[in-house]
Symmetry: C2
Amino acid sequence: MACAALRILDNLGLPDLTMRRLAAELDVQPSALYHHFPNKQTMLAELADRIVATHGLSPEDVPEDWRDALRAESAALRDGLLAYRDGAEVVSSTLALGLGADAPLHRLAGVIGRGGFDDSTAARASSVLVHFVLGHVSHEQQRMQYDSLGALSPELKSRGLDDDQAASFAFGVDLLVGGLERSRSRT
Amino acid sequence: MACAALRILDNLGLPDLTMRRLAAELDVQPSALYHHFPNKQTMLAELADRIVATHGLSPEDVPEDWRDALRAESAALRDGLLAYRDGAEVVSSTLALGLGADAPLHRLAGVIGRGGFDDSTAARASSVLVHFVLGHVSHEQQRMQYDSLGALSPELKSRGLDDDQAASFAFGVDLLVGGLERSRSRT
DNA sequence: ACCTGAACACCGTTCAAGT
DNA sequence: ACCTGAACACCGTTCAAGT
């Protein structure tokens, strides 16, 4: 059920993920969907939860240094969002509406807490980080879609573009890690 | 024309800002709008540009210290977004689609550049900052809307909530300012 | 140049009725 | 419990025709 929705999302994108198309994919009438979700937003929230659950970094892969752990978790979250077309937008809107997809928030806050910051700081900093990740990846995915719509010589321009995106993503994460580190040394 | 759109946005919110309602507000047929904008997104982009243009900090009010200037510009941007219902979401989607609303990006990059950072760093850091601001204010506005829909004793919970929002906003900005400062001293 | 009228191809959601 | 069929109240956009 949610699998069909993810398939539509990945193949056609968020604007084409309609209740009617999902119903058609399941060979069912649109009204039947409302026995499983109260409304469309709830269905998208379920998708968002699944998308961020994908970014499972196995516990043994989490570095013990909190800064490296934060970088690793951030990169894993980015990978999870990039795994589905328009993944960042789905998660972003769900999170904004307070309907879920808040696992990364708690995950990252936990890592920061392990760095010796108080709960309030950890919560706020993880929120800043998640806002950045969602904004960055949304932009990234928007650009991918634009490029695939075939402007002039897409290969030429996108050669090394993935590296650029990864680098500017890492820059943002490092900026926040640095800010955190500094905030502690200034106490 | 754009004023009517802003009025609808502020009174009814983004979901109710439809081409048909805008046409009705202007006492015109929906099809008439397409002589002014090629499509709805373009119309929203015009709105977004206007919303971020509001955040005009007069040049004499910009502090000379780049860190204070960054804080002041960020706060002014937040105020501009908060000035219209769903302002952050309108700007966010327009920026994501690359249709405009990039004035704050250049403004902030300029301020950072005045702090002695190279152009690439300034551009990346201002992008991080704008992602944070949009994410934060979106969340803020979502919550305002939710509260006004009247949960239990809204005054009780929102007493001092504005201060909280302003404080966590300032925290995020300071985190990034600190990160930038640190990135220079570590060169 | 700017607008009307009418249509096209859709939406999300509800609800009685069936099994 | 789960689904159908039909409807309600909308959308964004196009296009011939008018002025």
